[in-house]
């Protein structure tokens, strides 16, 4: 399960560059990344490991869960 702190994201795209499954994509206008393909995620935690502002957290869940995005303005 992906937990993404939208507010903290600085749009550096490190996660985009390291994800082996193309889960992340950059939103160039807002300068933030977004989760394009959450179902592709294989919990390799490369994105969590690399994120310089710790905006990503991968949690192990038994039931497949939708990603949780926090800090996103409504």
């Amino acid at each position: 399960m992906i937990i993404f702190d939208y507010e903290a994201c600085i749009g550096c795209q490190d996660c985009v560059k390291v994800c082996p499954r193309g889960v992340w994509e950059i939103d160039a206008i807002r300068k933030k990344v977004e989760i394009a393909k959450s179902r592709n995620c294989i919990d390799c935690t490369a994105c969590e490991f690399q994120c310089p502002v710790r905006a990503i957290r991968i949690e192990r869940t038994l039931i497949p869960k939708q990603p949780l995005v926090i800090g996103r303005p409504q």
């Binding site: 390291v18 082996p20 294989i42 490991f49 192990r60």
Partner: protein
């Protein structure tokens, strides 16, 4: 490139799923095609097969570069990174021991993308090294360098093409055949205890060739049908394949009988009793092959793997509880 004993030992180890046979390259710095102090530095782990493939790709593209081989306990990049066998300290250690700073004038490192689970770009930067995550496949490194260290989205994603799937299948089949052969004397020993074990062994021995053939068919089917499978779960694929196989095995005789116009109602009932001995064997085998298969694709997530294991063990427990044994010789 020369494929010596080390290469074939690694291949054999991969076929038998036996990590002990992984040969390790020594940690160090290798230079290719007259690389100088301006040439880029590629990084990889010390699994012999990995290094061999990287060197092969370098020679094929005639890349003028250095290769830093890092201590990763003889495990390939992706598994090693995810398993914590190679980390930022391993890379820094290799840089130190090879005096890389004195060998090149720049401070760029091209890391394999799949090492990103355990090697930190930020920490390497703190130590004065500009680390970039290159493409997933070594074959794309040439164009990565030419593109001023930019990769396409495809180059940053793992893929599992038909050839890779078939090769993978071969490894699985060799392993499973090996396991079946090993199970034969074990069942034979159990048969000496008498009881249902005698029937087990009888069934096993008489069906062994059939079981091996079926396993090959299932594995190959899963390798080819990979893109159209509805899920990444190995267990579910096994289930789908097994049910499909059951339908084929059951429908074809019925069709044949229809064509022959020799239908006997009781025959239909018998043939449609899907979960008889043969049915269970087919289903069980398919689940087994599917389960193994799922775990070796690059698309199976860690959570999904846990679910598969629970499903697999659960099925086994359920079957035993219901009185079904595999092979179900007691019927």
């Amino acid at each position: 490139m020369n494929k010596g004993w080390k290469y074939y030992t690694c291949i054999l180890g991969a076929q038998l799923m036996w990590p002990r046979l992984a040969v390790r390259t020594k940690m160090g710095l290798f230079s290719f095609n007259g690389a100088d102090s301006e040439s880029p530095v590629l990084v990889t782990t010390d699994f012999y097969l990995t290094v061999h493939r990287v060197r092969e790709a370098i020679q094929e593209e005639n890349l003028k570069c250095h290769l830093l081989v890092v201590d990763g306990r003889g495990i390939n990049v992706w598994c090693g990174s995810r398993g914590g066998n190679v980390d930022t300290d391993s890379v820094l250690d290799a840089i130190d021991q090879t005096s890389l700073a004195n060998q090149v004038s720049h401070r760029n490192l091209i890391l394999p993308q799949l090492i990103a689970s355990s090697v930190s770009k930020a920490v390497l930067a703190d130590n004065g090294w500009n680390a970039m995550f290159g493409p997933v496949e070594i074959g794309d490194v040439g164009s990565f360098i030419e593109n001023e260290y930019e990769k396409t989205r495809e180059q940053g994603m793992v893929s599992f093409n038909l050839q890779a799937r078939l090769e993978n299948n071969m490894a699985h089949m060799v392993f499973e055949m090996f396991m079946f052969l090993l199970m034969t004397p074990i069942f034979w020993l159990l048969a000496n205890l008498g009881g249902p074990f005698v029937a087990w062994f009888g069934y096993w021995w008489s069906s062994l060739a059939y079981i091996v053939l079926l396993a090959w068919m299932f594995g190959t089917f899963m390798a080819i049908a990979n893109p159209i499978m509805p899920t990444t779960s190995g267990y579910v694929r096994g289930l789908v394949t097994g049910l499909f196989a059951l339908l084929v095995l059951k429908i074809i005789p019925v069709m044949f009988l229809l064509w022959q116009s020799t239908i006997d109602p009781s025959m239909i009932v018998l043939d449609w009793a899907l979960l008889d001995t043969t049915g269970l064997t087919v289903l069980g085998l398919s689940l087994f092959v599917g389960f193994n298969w799922g775990g070796s694709t690059p698309y199976l997530g860690e959570d999904q793997m846990t679910r598969d294991i629970i499903a697999g063990l659960g099925t086994l427990v359920l079957l035993f509880a219901l009185g079904f044994y595999f092979p179900a010789g007691i019927f």
